[in-house]
């Protein structure tokens, strides 16, 4: 047998692999896309909102700090405004008091000499610490009016910013005995850090303070992606704004996404590679037992490792997500679960796939073994086996086949079949070949031709052979040498012919002398006449003579009937058993009436058979039923029938004397009798004829009986369809 090179990329495997790879890739894509488009944005959004919340809280704290900052300056100034020299200066609109000038000129704010202005109720400047003061401090801004009218909280005014510092004005009322007598305002320069300290929310973020058109802000030039994150209104006209930098957030988000996707992707890629390697090994290993064994041993290890990697990847993803604060737990859990489920599902599918492969492998191995055994069996078979192609040439010939024909197998290979068949039978085999093409199988017995030219008989069975696509590729020819059997058959035919001749002689030549004995005994009786009437002994002797001759004639008649069953090769015909029984009844009408007999029957079928023989069969059985009866009985025979599928089972039941069980096995033997002649006459051939007829019709016969209980004879006859098959 040719060993075909195994390819994992054969038609079947390709389809399986394609489906499997498609399945894996599809799943990977789905899980990755789901993670990328659903989970990551959610996580990002959550991160962002967390960030904003944090910023807002920080900003509120910052606002509070700013309020305290102003309050501190305010308190400082308010304390100054309470000095009596200050209130009297405001009240009298005079600033020539040396104590006052000394107090105000030496008043320090943040360790520096302050820049102060005192106005009276009319808004006139009573005193100012330096001449270069301008703007709000000298003029009367709208908010000053509010302070005078006691509606203030507006005692604060931003002026502007210089690089790292900013200036503002703060004003307090000068109150004497419950009445506002003047305004004391100060221009203060503070460091930006005093309000926008380095303890801001995010190093990279910036703060912005706005009052009207004046804006003071920390350095925001280095913010990559600025975005207003939060605002806080400190006073009705002052607001504090936090400008965040989104770049770190975006970076954090990207990092997180990459971590999740990367972990999943690497886990899945490793799984995929392992699967591919294992799958290849499994498929490749089918032919090589060692590799195969190894793969089988590792069948569960590799997928389990893969599953563990997948699980680890999922857990890593889970942990990454878990590190992000305030992410809904279901979300992270779902990643974990889907990862684990995916890997286990793939693992399971793969194991199933491998199992299937193993089953296929074992079937293939089994079949291969069978084919090898079969081939070996064919080569060594006792029967001749050959394969012949559509051109009629031998393509395979085993030892036995060649030996029957007197050749060696190699001598027949690629030779035409005609050389092994007798020329007179070649046409017959050509016809048989045509028949085989139609029916698929033919059996013939042609004469074969040996190498040395001698003739032998063979039995050939030709079976047509088709390839997978149904194309005829030739036929198998099985051959047996049946020369011995043919000779025996010829011998049997010859001896059968002799027997027939013998039977013919019996029927005619032997009947003749017997007839002479009978006739002339009677003649002699007449001839002796009166004298004979007195001679009892003589009469007895004559009786023996005539009786003996009569019995001999009956025996000859019956044995002839028995032997003719075989030689009669007439075609079978349809026989209506119902009609047959009527005929039997008609023929026996005298006997039936004389002996008060009754013959009944079921509804009987039409069968295919030899009419005369079937008639004989039923007549013998009915006859026996009526004959073997005790004294003073009313004989009753019933003919029944039962359908047993392939056969009709007939029964002939009587109410006669029955038989002892020990005799039942011999009643179908020729000449076998159970009763003495004086009781029941007969030759002992009747049932033998029945048996032979039944057997010739493809059935069997048997009897159920008990002494005194009557007998029932059963026999089966093949149904027409089955009979034809049997004859084939």
């Amino acid at each position: 047998m040719n060993k075909q090179k195994f390819s994992i990329f054969n038609k079947e495997n390709r389809a399986i692999l394609r489906a499997f790879a498609g399945f894996l890739i599809g799943f990977f894509l789905i899980i990755t896309i789901l993670t990328a488009f659903l989970l990551v944005p959610k996580i990002n959004k959550s991160l962002e909102s967390q960030h904003i919340t944090d910023s807002t809280i920080s900003l509120q704290i910052k606002s509070e700090l700013f309020r305290h900052f102003i309050e501190d300056y305010h308190s400082l100034l308010a304390d100054l405004a309470k000095y009596p020299v200050v209130t009297s200066a405001a009240l009298l609109s005079k600033s020539d008091n040396p104590d006052f000038i000394d107090l105000v000129d030496n008043f320090l704010i943040d360790g520096k000499k302050s820049r102060l202005v005192l106005k009276n109720i009319a808004g006139e400047v009573i005193y100012q610490t330096s001449k270069d003061l301008e703007g709000d401090l000298i003029s009367n801004p709208p908010w000053l009016k509010n302070i005078f009218e006691d509606e203030a909280p507006y005692y604060f005014k931003l002026i502007g910013q210089e690089k790292n510092s900013f200036r503002f004005i703060i004003a307090v009322p000068v109150i004497y005995r419950g009445y506002t007598e003047g305004i004391l305002s100060a221009e203060i320069t503070a460091h930006l850090n005093d309000i926008f300290s380095s303890q801001t929310i995010n190093d990279s973020g910036g703060l912005k303070l706005r009052q009207g058109n004046v804006v003071i802000q920390s350095d925001i030039d280095d913010i990559a992606v600025p975005r207003v994150i939060s605002k806080d209104i400190i006073a009705p006209n002052i607001e504090l704004t936090y400008i965040g930098d989104d770049a770190p957030i975006i970076a954090a988000q990207n990092k997180l996404r990459n971590n999740i996707l990367g972990t999943l992707f690497i886990g899945l890629v490793i799984s995929f590679i392992l699967f591919t390697i294992l799958g290849y090994k499994v498929l490749e290993g089918r032919q090589e037992s060692a590799t195969h064994h190894k793969v089988k041993k590792n069948l569960y290890i590799l997928p389990i490792i893969t599953a563990l990697i997948g699980t680890a990847a999922s857990i890593s993803a889970f942990l990454i997500i878990k590190g992000v604060p305030d992410i809904a737990s279901w979300m992270s859990l779902s990643v974990l679960l889907s990862g684990i489920t995916l890997t286990f599902f793939i693992t399971y599918s793969f194991i199933q796939f491998i199992r299937q492969q193993q089953i296929i492998e074992s079937v293939v191995a089994q079949r291969t073994k069978e084919v090898q055994e079969l081939t070996s069996a064919m080569e060594n078979a006792v029967e001749g086996v050959s394969f012949i192609d559509p051109q009629g040439c031998y393509r395979f010939v085993n030892e036995a086949y060649a030996a029957f024909c007197g050749y060696k197998p190699t001598e027949l290979l690629n030779k035409n079949w005609e050389m092994t068949v007798h020329e007179d039978d070649r046409q017959m085999m050509t016809d048989a070949y045509q028949a085989m093409l139609k029916s698929g199988k033919t059996v013939d017995e042609p004469r074969g031709l040996r190498k040395d030219g001698s003739v032998f008989y063979k039995r050939t069975t030709m079976i047509s052979k088709y390839d997978e696509d149904g194309n005829f590729i030739g036929h198998h020819c099985f051959m047996g040498d049946i020369t011995e059997r043919k000779k025996a058959e010829e011998e049997i035919l010859r001896s059968n012919a002799e027997l027939e001749r013998f039977a013919f002689i019996c029927s005619h030549d032997l009947q003749e002398p017997l007839r002479m004995i009978r006739s002339f005994s009677e003649k002699l009786q007449e001839h002796i006449g009166d004298q004979f009437k007195q001679d009892e002994k003589g009469k007895k002797y004559f009786h023996f003579i005539i009786d003996g001759a009569t019995r001999a004639q009956n025996l000859i008649r019956d044995i002839l009937a028995y032997s003719s069953i075989d030689s009669n090769a007439e075609q079978f015909e349809e026989v209506c058993v119902e009609n047959l029984i009527s005929m039997i009844k008609d023929n026996m009408i005298m006997h039936i009436e004389d002996h008060n007999c009754k013959i009944t029957h079921d509804e009987l079928p039409t069968i295919l058979g030899h009419k005369t023989q079937i008639y004989q069969l039923f007549q013998n059985l009915v006859n026996n039923g009526l004959k073997y009866q005790g004294d003073n009985t009313s004989p009753h025979v019933h003919i029944g029938v039962k359908d047993t599928g392939d056969h009709w089972e007939f029964s002939v039941k009587d109410n006669g004397i029955g038989m002892e069980e020990r005799h039942l096995n011999k009643i179908f033997d020729v000449f076998q009798r159970l009763h003495k002649k004086s009781l029941y006459a007969g030759t002992g051939v009747g049932l033998s004829i029945c048996k032979k007829v039944v057997e010739r019709h493809g059935g069997k016969i048997w009897v159920n009986s008990a002494k005194g209980k009557g007998s029932t004879f059963y026999f089966t006859l093949l149904k027409p369809k089955n009979l034809e098959n049997q004859n084939d």
């Binding site: 007895k540 023996f544 003996g548 005799h663 159970l674 009763h675 003495k676 002649k677 004086s678």
Partner: protein
């Protein structure tokens, strides 16, 4: 051993009326007084030997003449039964049959038949043979004393 002349009890198992007639005639002409019993089939013969059914009180035969071809229970079966029975096996059984087949002869002796005689076709010879049988088995041969 000198004995009182006595009636020789002979059982003929035979279904052929002609042979029965000839045997009867032969024994009528016999030197010794004898009592010829006839059983026409195997079952009847067994009934006679076991003294049952219609044969209660029947004599135990001194000699049995047995045909092989009998309806129902065959001569072979009877021979087998007799020779297997410790009471009956001492009775000499003379197979008297029309069969010349070696198979029958060997089988009969295997079953311990005491002798095997083929019926002559000729009636006179038949009677002659029966005379010889009678002469030998009744007169010459010493038979065991009957018990009971």
């Amino acid at each position: 051993m000198i004995k009182e002349p006595k009636l020789a009890e002979i059982l003929l198992v035979e279904d052929n009326e002609g042979d029965i007639e000839l045997t009867k005639e032969a024994f009528k002409e016999a030197k010794f007084r004898n009592n010829l019993h006839i059983a026409e089939d195997g079952d009847e013969a067994l009934d006679f030997l076991y003294k049952r059914n219609d044969y209660e009180g029947a004599a135990t035969p001194d000699v049995i003449l047995l045909d092989l071809n009998l309806p129902g229970t065959s001569g072979r079966e009877i021979l087998e039964i007799i020779k297997a029975d410790k009471n009956l096996k001492i009775i000499p059984v003379i197979v008297l049959t029309s069969s010349e087949a070696d198979k029958d002869i060997i089988e009969s002796y295997n079953l311990h038949a005491n002798c095997y005689i083929v019926k002559p076709v000729n009636a006179i010879k038949f009677i002659d043979v029966v005379h010889h049988v009678e002469n030998f088995w009744v007169d010459i041969v010493c038979l065991p004393t009957k018990v009971g």
